[in-house]
């Protein structure tokens, strides 16, 4: 009994000491905020001239809009700012980090602009207002018209710094537009800026596809009557026309190679073939009854997803390029087309028709689990991943029933119209990270 009481007492004595070391464990998961709160105040015109003030305004606005486009950032409304770096100064010594923390910002970008002799010089700084230090500082100098390029360069740096990826700021989006009366291929910058017409043949041009170095564009054109394959260099005036008997459609480049897959029917059935960029058939990839179209490659180029009618209705299949082994990927719904393989992971977006309406779905290649990304917003078709796999461009009839290009996140959130052009815009195709332009 003595020992028992002894133990009781002793335990009581030592308990506080033991518990002193105790840590509760709290698991925090499933976050619902995903956009980094960032403040981009107006840039400071260093010498205060009128052109500087204009460049400062347009530069800050463009930077804010560009960052916002990525959907990675939540741009804090300038009306909430507690200080004005455009007046007080743009260096760490001039700003009070607490003022920015208090309005919810995690980061702050300040800019100073000098305009002299037609040249613009911009000093841009990224601050971590929690660590109270500058994490990035760059100076750019160029012609006034190059301001956009400078801002994009800085955005690349910011993205690298904050997300580890360079982002999409030098990418382009090709699409088909009927604005000029015929179906022509256009390309614009990632944010819809500066749409340029690529084809000018007053015919039907479809299915643009970027090579992985961003230098070549392949597409289908009815210029000579039948659907032929055009492979054109975007910076030099050269290219190839692949025009075998039958149809020659739906090109898709193999990642990292000057080769592409396309559907040809010169042997009778519509099958997918592998071609070189100069238009030589390498080998036939599919061998089955029924249509095989719309190839798209995994990031390593070792697998190819495509649409096949072999199951009776259009469904998506995945083929191993080495063994040729093919597996059906989609089982839900009777009409699944337009696959686009995410450039960075194992997901594929595609277009599924249910109830007579087309919607964008995403499917996990490993598990086969699919999720609809659009609903009740007209017809949504032709999805295409951004080069970093964070955004999806697609065409939708959600506004007045006219097909236009929209961009949403990989999770289907934040859909926004990409650009306003006359006519209908369809079939967007996002380029690799860097695309050549005309």
């Amino acid at each position: 009994m003595v020992k028992r009481s002894l133990l009781v007492v002793a335990l009581m004595v030592c308990l506080p000491a033991t518990l002193f070391a105790q840590y509760d464990y709290v698991r925090i998961s499933n976050p619902f905020l995903h956009k980094i709160p960032i403040a981009v105040p107006l840039f400071k015109p260093i010498s205060g001239t009128e052109p500087e003030a204009m460049a400062a305004q347009s530069g800050a606005d463009l930077l804010a809009a560009t960052l916002e486009f990525t959907r990675y950032f939540n741009l804090i409304n300038r009306a909430a700012f507690l200080e004005r770096p455009d007046r007080t100064g743009v260096t760490l010594a001039d700003i009070h980090c607490k003022n920015w923390r208090d309005i919810g910002a995690e980061f702050l970008i300040t800019g100073g602009v000098t305009v002299a002799g037609g040249m613009v010089e911009m000093e841009l700084r990224l601050f971590d207002v929690f660590k109270e230090r500058m994490v990035l500082g760059k100076k750019y100098k160029g012609k006034s018209e190059d301001q956009r390029k400078m801002i994009h360069r800085f955005c690349v740096e910011v993205m690298e710094q904050l997300t580890g990826t360079p982002g999409i700021f030098e990418s382009k989006i090709a699409f088909v537009s009927t604005g000029d009366g015929s179906k022509e291929i256009y390309a614009c910058e990632f944010d819809g800026y500066n749409p340029q017409r690529i084809t000018r043949n007053n015919s039907i041009n479809l299915s643009p596809a970027w090579s992985s170095d961003g230098q070549w564009l392949a597409y289908t054109s009815y210029r000579k009557g039948g659907p032929d394959l055009y492979i054109t260099n975007l910076t030099e005036n050269r290219g190839t026309v692949f025009s075998k008997e039958g149809i020659n459609i739906s090109p898709s480049w193999v990642p990292g190679q000057f080769m592409l897959a396309a559907t040809l029917s010169f042997e009778g059935d519509q099958e997918i073939y592998l071609l070189t960029g100069s238009g030589t058939v390498v080998r036939r990839l599919t061998r089955s009854w029924g249509i095989d179209v719309s190839p798209t490659f995994s990031p390593d180029g070792k697998r190819m997803a495509f649409v096949s009618g072999r199951a009776g209705s259009p469904q998506i299949f995945v083929m191993d390029m080495g063994s040729g082994r093919t597996q059906r990927l989609t089982f839900e719904g009777g009409y699944n087309t337009n696959p686009s393989w995410n450039p960075v992971n194992e997901t594929i977006v595609y277009c599924a028709m249910t109830g007579g309406v087309f919607n964008i779905h995403v499917i996990d290649v490993k598990t086969g689990a699919s999720v609809a990304l659009t609903a009740d917003q007209g017809d949504n078709e032709s999805p295409s991943w951004s080069p970093d796999g964070s955004l999806i461009a697609f065409s939708s009839t959600r506004e007045a029933g006219v097909p236009r290009i929209y961009v949403m996140t990989a999770a289907g959130t934040d859909p926004r119209r990409l650009l306003i052009l006359p006519g209908e815009q369809t079939g967007p195709k996002w380029s690799p990270a860097v695309a050549a332009g005309r």
Binding site: R4, V9, A10, L15, D24, Y25, S29, F32, D128
Partner: protein, 280 residues
């Protein structure tokens, strides 16, 4: 002051001879008396500020059935004083779990313990008498060992809460269920509910960039003062992704001040695990 008293008791035990137990009982009684006096005088909550290690209070004192509802300070303090004898008994079963080989009864409980640990730690789920036999069998020499085991066990027996969307409310509810040890359960609830509240506040401020690897995991240990201010923050485990780690750190900093600790607690230590994947 209280701590120093405890320490001296412990020393006595080691140096004492046959009459040691008698001395201990006397000392224990005296100790109780002092606590009661302190409580009644109403000065207890004031003097405990730094002297009582946080964890001890969280488990022992508030665990009494009475105190939680008691609105007045003195009342709560009295209850804590009364409570003191109970907690050690309860806690003592922890070592019993530790040594299933020595104690036959707890053996059966062992799996239960293990199962509950990862979800919600409630160190006091078993009946009081369990520890005593262990002491009888093992003797003085074994006592130190048992204590060491207890210490280790207690440090392992952490309260664990999941904060993930709808889960947070479940976690809170679950705690009630977890507190099967009667009065002990209530003590757990006070801190566990606090953990849910605090965790949710941090989660609200957590900006986890889109597209990060779902399986990333960062663990940050923090110390929270009674008024909810942050006393310490350090990474226990980094995810390997700096952006992600920073997002977790900022979530905490943005949540300061955290909710004030439940009454009677002066310092709370928490390991916060950040993982994008829903723990459900």
């Amino acid at each position: 002051m209280a701590v120093s008293l405890h320490v001296s008791l412990l020393d006595d035990r080691h140096t004492g001879s046959g009459s040691f137990a008698a001395w201990m009982s006397l000392s224990f009684g005296f100790h109780l008396l002092v606590l009661v006096l302190l409580a009644v005088s109403g000065s207890y909550s004031g003097c405990q500020k730094r002297s009582f290690p946080m964890g001890a209070i969280s488990v022992d004192l508030v665990s009494l059935p009475g105190p939680v509802s008691g609105p007045s300070k003195p009342a709560a303090a009295v209850s804590t004083a009364k409570a003191t004898p109970a907690p050690p008994v309860r806690e003592s079963k922890a070592p019993a779990y530790e040594k299933p080989a020595v104690v036959p009864k707890p053996k059966a409980v062992v799996p239960t313990k293990k199962n509950t640990a990862p979800v919600k730690a409630s160190p006091r789920t078993a009946p009081a008498p369990a520890p005593a036999p262990a002491a009888e069998d093992t003797g003085d020499a074994e006592l130190a060992k048992t204590l060491a085991a207890l210490e280790q066990k207690v440090s392992q027996t952490q309260q664990s809460v999941n904060i993930s969307g709808a889960n947070s409310s479940q976690a809170g509810g679950g705690q009630g269920g977890g507190g099967t040890g009667g009065g002990g359960g209530r003590a757990a609830s006070a801190l566990e509910i606090y953990n849910v509240e605090m965790g949710f506040q941090i989660r609200k401020n957590w900006v986890c960039p889109l597209g990060v690897d779902e399986n990333l995991q960062a663990v940050i240990a923090i110390h929270i003062a009674a008024d909810g201010s942050l006393m310490d923050l350090r990474f226990e485990k980094r995810s390997g992704n700096d952006t992600y780690d920073e997002s977790a750190r900022k979530a905490i900093l943005k949540s300061v001040p955290l909710p004030p600790l439940p009454r009677g607690f002066v310092l709370h230590k928490v390991s916060l695990e950040f993982t994008p994947k829903d723990a459900r």
